[in-house]
Each structure stands twice: as structure tokens, then as C-alpha cells.
Symmetry: C2
Subunit: 313 residues, 2 copies
Amino acid sequence: MPRILRIAAAQMGPTSRAEPRATTLARLVRLLEESAAAGARLVVFPELAFTTFFPRWLLSEAELKPYFETAMPNPQVQPLFDKAKELGVGFYVGYAERAEDGRRFNSAITVGPDGTILAKYRKVHLPGSVEPRAGDRFQQLEKRYFEYGDLGFPAFRGPAAWHRPVMGMLVCNDRRWPEAWRCYGLQGVELMVMGYNSAAYDPNGGSTENEEIRTFHSTLAVQANAYMNATWAVSVAKAGNEDGSGLIGGSCIVDPNGVVVAQARTLADEVVATDCDLEACRQGKEKMFNFAAHRRPEHYRRIVEQVGAVVPE
Amino acid sequence: MPRILRIAAAQMGPTSRAEPRATTLARLVRLLEESAAAGARLVVFPELAFTTFFPRWLLSEAELKPYFETAMPNPQVQPLFDKAKELGVGFYVGYAERAEDGRRFNSAITVGPDGTILAKYRKVHLPGSVEPRAGDRFQQLEKRYFEYGDLGFPAFRGPAAWHRPVMGMLVCNDRRWPEAWRCYGLQGVELMVMGYNSAAYDPNGGSTENEEIRTFHSTLAVQANAYMNATWAVSVAKAGNEDGSGLIGGSCIVDPNGVVVAQARTLADEVVATDCDLEACRQGKEKMFNFAAHRRPEHYRRIVEQVGAVVPE
């Protein structure tokens, strides 16, 4: 019996620092409506979807404050929740979280078609640095602005309207870390959802990587980790030129064979939607990646017993 | 300063059960000569390179015996060692090992250009089953014929003639398991070498996968794990139709960006060779995959604390 859930990857084009939050939210609502019109029951938005990718700037506490949500939902984002409930569509969205105790996280939530928050995730693999790099026009200050996620990788069940998929969330750089995927794989995950803001090139002028190779890396990591965990994966960009700093696009929906079944073609607001049969995870989980039959954790201890590389003499 | 090592992937076509071992060894010697003529200093051969892929047959102890090497080298394989030393070329080769105590492993060794064995590896991720599947024409009995590898994933240094790369070995199915790659990645691996025999389709008539998707999976797993560990990878098939059971080809050399830089085009004996600059690993290891800066092992404990999947209600 197929368990078909139609999912939309709702890629966003660039959001400049100057763009009013209400304008950005109106774009999200429009993408949600477009996704619903395409038949999607779940819409995946990018990381930090409500604002520009502010960790590229060295900001004061006062400047930082408006980028953060102190509650979810809240009046600034309520119209998205209202529209989703009205349409009976759920969504994943990334946002900057300021907890009640003042701690800040790069977070994501999945909201059900009835408007309730099903689960929250806080990004574990923060890239960048705490201290700004002297002389650089653009920074990557996630390690300065956020704490490391403290919730681990908890899988959860989606609602009956989605055929109760086992779901897992990641945020951006997490998708390049096979440990994160495996922790969800070990919970039988059938649907991974994630958003990203990934630089298209070294914004300070380096030439070792370009947009093509970085888009390839983004897609490759999702394809292989989807295959190796026999799960669907939906990976969604904020793309294009944000105030002079380029972001890759390439938002994609990947099946449990690691095959890209839908991919965005632009660097702008763009919806791609496809039917995902959750039963397609079964073959991989029962054969090649039957973990109970084939894993040998006694040989994996380095993965938890050391952080950095220890190189032989 | 580049550290360039020229490597050959020496794919083998099918080896039937009836083929005399001396004939197969002569093919290995020819592939070695061809690789040396192409300038390679290291040649990578397949898994179980000296014989047919015998785990597809249910065999008696007496039938099994001749497939196993009780010493390495030994008179049956000595001509390969002699030719390699003469040419100053080293190699990776997979073979069926019977240890002195009678235990059997699906093993591989890397031999230096001076003919010494640099390291041995015993396959950890054995696929297949212990008991034969009733009524099936072809079996996959690796779990019956071999014990799980007991050496872990020990990286080692190649010789000065190869610019002392940090090397790691895998065998076949291991390449699909990110845990195995990461254990080597955590030792700073710069060059992963592996051989395989992978079914091109369900030899008993299933239709859920075909040669194209299985070749794609093989390449995808190597590309992504090479990228995620910032290492070169050389993955080499025994390919083609062995007594009615098809094996994929697709032997490839992959750079630390996950890009396939050379790939076999046939299902026959075929050499592809390319220059590999070991310094190309540096960028990934120092930036995106700087493990010391970015890994969070406190969240990875499921990877060692459970074997099979534990699915949420």
C-alpha cells in the first residue's frame, strides 16, 4: 500500500537587510499558497527564512535583536500560521530563536496541518567562527551568535494526514554531517527536511571553489545520506545575491535511492512539488541498510571518543 | 607544494568458476604492467581478485578450500608480487583469507613498491546471510563463509615514494557505510582504496533495482564519503557476467571534492589512471570538515549505543 505525501520545496530568493519583515513574510505566504495550489500537504522553507542571513555581518546586541523570535508563533509570523491552517498545509521553517533564558539558537520547527508545532530542532553543526575575520567584507559568525543545539536529533511522527512519516529535521550545514543523518536513520526516519543558506563562492574573493562545485556538494551530501539511510529528503535554499554575498540555489527533493526527483532551477522564490511514497523507504531499510543485520558499532567508537582527527605518524 | 601520486584503478572483467587460478593471476599481472606503463605507482585491484565471487554458491568445506589463501604472499600469487617489485609499483588487492587458527575473513592488503605488505584489512560489513535462501539460483553467503573483520579501521602511512599518504582500506559493502569512512576520516585519511563485487541486478529475477541504479549507488556512496572526509578514493570493480550472475562496473577515482576524475567504461579488464594531488585534501580538512572545530560527538551516541533502528511510536 503506497503512503503518498505530496511535498513542496519552497525556495526563497535573496532577502536583503533592508527588506521589511512584513514583505518577507508576504513572500512566505505566497509560496505557501502556491505550494498548496500544487497539491502539497507539507511545505519546506529555508533556514532563517524570516530575515536576511544576518550572521554575515558583525552586529551589536541592539542590531541583532530584531532578527530573533522570542516566541513561536508570534505576531510577526502569525499570518503564515493562519494561512497554513486555513489551507490545511503544514510546514518546516528555520528561524533565529531567543529562548526565555536568553540563549540563542539557529532553530527549525515543523508545523502540522492543524497549526500545531509538532517538533523543534536546534542546529548542532554551527559553521563559521566566534571572532570576526579581520578585514573581511563578509563574516560567518554563527558560532558567535548561536549556541550549539542542545536537543540532539530527535525523530518524530508526522500526522495521520501525512501517513504518519517518521521525520527528522536538520539545518543547513548539518546536512553535510553523516553522523546527524545516521542518528535519525537509527530512528527509522522516512522523511528528512532541512533548509539552508550556503555561500555560492568565497564572498571575500577566494577562487578555490565556485557556485557550481558548492551546489554540487550540497546536492551530493543530501543524495548520499538519503540513500545510506533509505529516507526521503527535502533540502531547501535561500538563494541568490543578498547585499553582495551570493547564495547557492539547487533546492531539491531526493528519494530513498538518492535520486533527485525535483530540483529548483532559479535563484529566486520558486516552488517545486512532487509526490513522495513513504513506502519507497522500505526496500533500503530491509535489505542493504538493514542496520540490525549489518552494522558493527563495536568498530565505530572513534566517532564518539574523539572530536578532531588524530593522524598516524 | 603538490604531493602527486599517480594511481591506477585496475578493474577486472568476470572470472568464471572454471577459470584456472593461473589464468586469473596472469590477468592481474597484465593489468599491473599496463598500469605501470601508464605511469601509476599504486594499482588498486578488486575484492576477491584471485578467484570468482564464490559466495554466490553454496559450497562444501572441500569446495571452499581452494578459494582461500593460507599465507600472503604464497606460491600461487607470488608472480604478482615479483612483477610489482620489479616495476616498483605497489598495489591493493582483496582476497579470501584463512588464518592460521582456521578463521576466515574477506580481506585486503596494501603492498608497497618494495614488495612489503604495508597493512592488512578485514571486511567489517559483511552482506548476505548465513543460511542459503531456499530455491534461489544465486546466493550471497558472505556471512556464512567469513567472520566479521576484527581489525577495525586502522589508517596507515604509505611510503615516501607515494608522498606518505594517510591511507585506509575498505572492502566492497563497507563503502556504503559512512561510519567506516568516518573512522578513517578521524585519522586524517588522504587516500581510501577499496575493491568490490556488486550484483548488477537481483540475479534471482527481482525487478526493483537494475544495473544503472546499482552503479549509481556505488559511485554516489564513494563520492559523498570522499567529500565528507576530504579524501581521495579509488573504488574498483570485478565486473561483468560471472557464470550467469551480473556484476556492475563503474570503477572510479574520486577527488576530495567528491568529483569523479576517472571512471571505467567497460565491464572487462580495464585500467584507468590519474594523478592525485594529496594536498587537495587540505582545504576540506581545514575548512568545511575541520572536525576539531565543528563535530559534536556528545550528540552522536546512538551510533555506538544501538545496532538496529529504534522507531518512535
